[in-house]
């Protein structure tokens, strides 16, 4: 770990962090555009060409507004809660493999912040810290509705973490490792000659459970019960002003990106182009770094596809009732997750015996 490597590492971490953070304004714009498309209306097109500057305008507006702190709240917790929400969202990026590697001079650097051999578990661990933001936010703002909102959203996140873990266990059984990078390598090649060797074809049920649980994890519709405008006034972040409110939304969007990234990595082959293996591509292009760029682009397109699905689902499905929510998680998802594990176990047993 000499000096140069450290600098490259720092720069790489910073670049990836900024890259992921940029996804948030893009998503805001996209969300409005797709919502408008679904609702057959033009969407934001005033600010800048085709409304592309709308997210910038929003950001500036949020920055400029006042951030009031109500009198009878716990000052410290109230102000720290939004950051408690943002921190885990940022930290969970560490394990995401954007690409294979790039070279500077003769040294190779991985195209991900850290290749942890407990990668997937790390993501879930950090993911589970997201609850504190909502809990402390709701409790600190000393407002009956926000407290109940916080409790509800916490219960929802909590009860959907288990199906998340169970869903992924199927994939882990198949890949035999928790490091995301290895998972991507294991998904190269073809399945039965026709389909790309992606996890989703091996683990359709697992993917389904994970996909639904991912929605609940990020409080996205149809699970955004806590922030329902009508009933609970915007849930736990009612009292928050400009920037704190914005950080909660930022945290939500980053969590969405992380979840989509994990889905792409585990089930859709990460940075793999379906029928083109890395070596073939490298032989065509020649330079390793350009190949890295292509890989990153492929990774981000897949992530964007998932994000659009998020938005699409949000504006189509109606909202769940709270008890339906619970029933879905404990009654349906967890059993399906267990069944998936059993099926994978048996499948692997026969697959390896052959």
């Amino acid at each position: 770990m000499d000096q140069f490597d450290f600098i490259v590492l720092a720069v790489k971490t910073l670049v990836i962090l900024v890259l992921i953070i940029q996804v948030v304004p893009v998503m805001i714009y996209l969300e409005r555009k797709i919502a408008a498309l679904i609702q057959d209306r033009p969407g934001p097109n005033r600010v800048g060409p085709l409304g592309l500057l709308q997210p910038v305008a929003d950001a500036l507006k949020l920055l400029m507004k006042e951030d009031p702190v109500p009198s009878n709240v716990n000052k410290f917790l109230f102000q720290i809660a939004p950051f408690l929400a943002v921190m885990p969202a940022c930290l969970s990026l560490a394990a995401l493999p954007l690409g294979d590697f790039f070279e500077i001079g003769d040294r190779k650097y991985l195209l991900q912040i850290a290749d942890l051999n407990v990668g997937l578990l790390y993501i879930f661990a950090i993911g589970s810290l997201g609850i504190y933001g909502t809990l402390f936010g709701g409790w600190a703002s000393n407002n009956k509705f926000s407290l109940i909102g916080a409790m509800r959203s916490a219960s929802q996140i909590v009860s959907y973490e288990i199906p998340l873990a169970l869903g992924v266990t199927g994939a882990v059984m198949m890949y035999g490792t928790l490091s995301l990078r290895e998972m991507v390598f294991k998904q190269s090649g073809l399945l039965l000659g026709v389909l790309p060797n992606w996890g989703v074809f091996y683990q359709p049920l697992g993917f389904l459970v994970f996909f639904v649980a991912a929605f609940a994890e990020t409080n996205r519709l149809p699970f955004d019960l806590p922030e329902t405008e009508a009933e609970l006034v915007a849930g736990f972040h009612t009292e928050y002003g400009s920037m704190s409110f914005a950080s909660f939304f930022m945290a939500e969007y980053m969590a969405m990106t992380t979840m989509s990234a994990v889905m792409t990595t585990v089930y859709f082959g990460g940075w793999q182009i379906p029928y083109l293996s890395d070596e073939a591509l490298f032989s065509m292009i020649g330079s390793r770094n350009i190949l890295a760029l292509i890989q990153v682009a492929v990774f981000f397109t897949k992530v964007m596809v998932f994000m659009c699905i998020y938005v699409w689902v949000r504006w189509t499905l109606p909202r769940f009732r709270f008890d339906q929510l619970m029933k879905l998680s404990w009654g349906n998802l967890i059993p399906i997750g267990l069944i998936n594990i059993v099926l994978t176990a048996i499948g692997l047993y026969f697959w390896d015996k052959r």
Partner: protein, 120 residues
């Protein structure tokens, strides 16, 4: 240990981000608190009594169940990791996993049986 260094860096950058957001919004944002802003927003209704009214234990129960099932879920992961390799030596990994799964299912059915979570 080395590969956790970037995590540390990431943590550092995230903290800087938060602090940055906090300071920028405080510098730019105007500060003129008045009574209505400072009172908690009850969608127009005057707030009365302590906000922290105790509520049904339902939420607590969900959290406890999550804790216990989370621990059981976590145990699945090491089992999943070595499942494929030790499958070659024999099926005892399968039996262990099966036993574990059975107990998990038993616990789950117990929850449904008790109907305490209004899941029915």
């Amino acid at each position: 240990m080395e590969n956790f260094l970037p995590v540390l860096l990431l943590l550092f950058f995230a903290v800087c981000l938060c602090i940055g957001i906090y300071t920028v919004s405080h510098i730019l944002g105007p500060k003129n608190p008045n009574a209505s802003k400072l009172s908690t927003y009850e969608c127009g209704v005057e707030p009365e009594g302590s906000a922290r009214v105790p509520f049904k234990t339902h939420f607590y129960l969900v959290a406890v169940l999550f804790l216990l099932f989370d621990v059981e879920g976590v145990f699945f992961i090491p089992w999943a990791i070595i499942y494929r390799d030790s499958l070659k030596e024999g099926t005892d990994i399968l039996i262990a996993g099966g036993l574990y799964m059975a107990l998990l299912v038993l616990a789950l059915s117990y929850i449904f049986r008790k109907r305490l979570l209004r899941l029915h």
